[in-house]
Amino acid sequence: MSPKKIAGIVLVAIALLALPLVLTQVGTAWVRIANLAILFVFLSLGLNIVVGMAGLLDLGYVAFYAVGAYTWALLASPHFNLHLSFWAILPLGALLACIAGAVLGAPTLRLRGDYLAIVTLGFGEIVRIFMNNLSAPFNITNGPKGITRIDGMQLGDLNFMQTDTLFGLAFTGPAKYYYVLLLLLMLVIIVNLRLQKSRIGRAWVAIREDEVAAKAAGINTRNIKLLAFAMGASFGGVAGGMFAAMQGFVSPESFILHESIMILAMVVLGGMGNVWGVIAGALLLSFVPELLRYTVQPAQMALFGRMLIEPEVLRMLIFGIALVLTMRFRPAGLWPESRHKREMNEAQEKAAA
């Protein structure tokens, strides 16, 4: 690695580590927003395996997020009076999501494109409706009221619900979650990058490119597709667990179709298949709505003296325009897979020669 690159990495690392302390000065809400953004990066990276690498259009991805969240909620709350440790619940949430992924994958193996999208969409809704209705005859999920007073994270003596002071710096609860999420995110990025450049990752891409040729080239497409669903889902499970711990409350409302579409939009906008593009897409679509929330109202008040357009409405409008423009001008996403980039570099080299 060049010294320049190392210096760059160190700078980014310092910036990421200092971020919650800076954001706390602006307002703790912004640290929470950053945490949610990291969760969405997480989810997008999981969905990227299924959609970006293996090319399986999954519109029900939020179901796995829900499985992870409810696993944490049920095993660490007064609802069943269970208070298991973080070390048990998070892996369990990932495992259950993984199984849910395989269960969804199995009947859809023969489906492609639109048909697969519709079945996965249905699966996402089924999971949400289950959560909504599993309150009778046995109250498992507490129905639409959701589960409240979920335990936060507790690592040894470190309680994530209170503020600690270290070296004269105050670390609030959300700030502490931020560091855990950042650490998990690093792991997920490494897993993603390594899978991409492996025998399995190549098999996924091969299936995306031409399933028949992949079969003839000796790939067990059934198992490799199931693996993509299961791997992608397990990321969703981890993100769900962290979501439940951070929010302290889960209800079926958090896992609607809209969320699946948002995550898919992040993957598509950023650049399907490219880890860094997906991260950029997720961060962009997480922060822009929040920025709107804080700027649109004052701006309109200042300009017109009253609210003309609600931030929520404006958000969908901007997303819609952004996606249309992306499809028109950068169909491979803002930051497409390196293969495409390599191609462009080659073209430039040839032009220079």
């Binding site: 399995i200 891409v205 031409d210 040729a213 003839a216 080239a217 000796g218 067990n220 293969r339």
Partner: protein, 260 residues
């Protein structure tokens, strides 16, 4: 030599029907080791259907195939590949957005075993395997003569190079039988000559080749034995000189009014 030692593949009574069309009717043929075996016939005779049945892409209605003294599992394509049959496609099917090198690396899938955990943890065995996959893929690209295009996307390769790349990917699965579906289709004379050299080289290296081809000159010059299909039925199987003079074969080609 005993019969089993010389015979690599024996198809017995293979049949395939699409609705009312009998695409393959009771096709039996025998391919010997290290031979270049041609499969010819007029358009729609069932040649490609036979390939698809043989490689597990279509489910057969009857018959079975003995390969390398073992019954071949024709239901699952990847098991066919694992048993040692690799193929190319009439209308080239590459992984367009992967590089030439990656395309060949995919072919190594069936002979390697690193899984998810190996990849995530980058275990020494996984890294060694990955390096070996890459090395072998590079060798194969050199072998088919397109090493200089290793890092180009498959879809940017010229038509002839794509054909070669498809062969390299098939070779990466370490086949005993290489099935080529019209490899010379759309090639010019120079490219065809190069292809012919490549196929002869493959046989010299111990491979058996099954060839579907329309270029009669190529088939007659290259193949040791030829089978002719017509309306899904095998009407002849012999050395090229004999097949060429077979009245049934002449009838099949000329009787249809195609005029080859």
């Amino acid at each position: 030599m005993s019969a089993t030692a010389t015979v690599l593949l024996e198809a017995r009574g293979v049949g395939k029907r699409f609705g009312g069309v009998q695409a393959l009717k009771d096709v039996s043929l025998t391919i010997r080791r290290q031979e270049i075996y041609g499969l010819i016939g007029p358009n729609g005779a069932g040649k490609t259907t036979f390939f698809n049945v043989l490689t597990g892409l279509y489910q057969r209605d009857g018959g079975d195939v003995l390969f390398d003294d073992q019954a071949l599992d024709l239901e699952t394509p990847y098991r066919v590949a694992a048993a040692g049959i690799a193929r190319t496609f009439q209308n080239i099917r590459l992984f367009g957005n992967m590089t030439a090198l990656e395309n060949v690396m995919v072919g190594r899938h069936v002979r390697t075993k690193a899984g998810v955990f190996g990849a995530i943890l980058r275990t020494p065995s996984q890294r060694a395997e990955e390096a070996a996959i890459k090395r072998r893929a590079e060798e194969l690209l050199r072998y088919v003569g397109i090493a200089h295009r290793a890092n180009d996307l498959a879809r940017h390769l010229s038509y002839g190079d794509q054909r070669r790349l498809e062969i390299a990917r098939a070779l990466a699965t370490e086949p005993k039988l290489l099935a080529l579906d019209e490899p010379a289709a759309g090639m010019n004379a120079t490219e065809t000559a190069g292809l012919r050299q490549l196929i002869e080289g493959l046989r010299a290296d111990g491979l058996t080749v099954l060839l579907i081809e329309h270029d009669v000159k190529l088939v007659m010059g290259l193949c040791d034995r030829v089978a002719v299909l017509d309306y899904g039925e095998k009407i002849a199987e012999d050395v090229p000189d004999v097949v060429q003079k077979d009245p049934k074969v002449i009838e099949a080609y000329l009787g249809g009014g195609v005029g080859e």
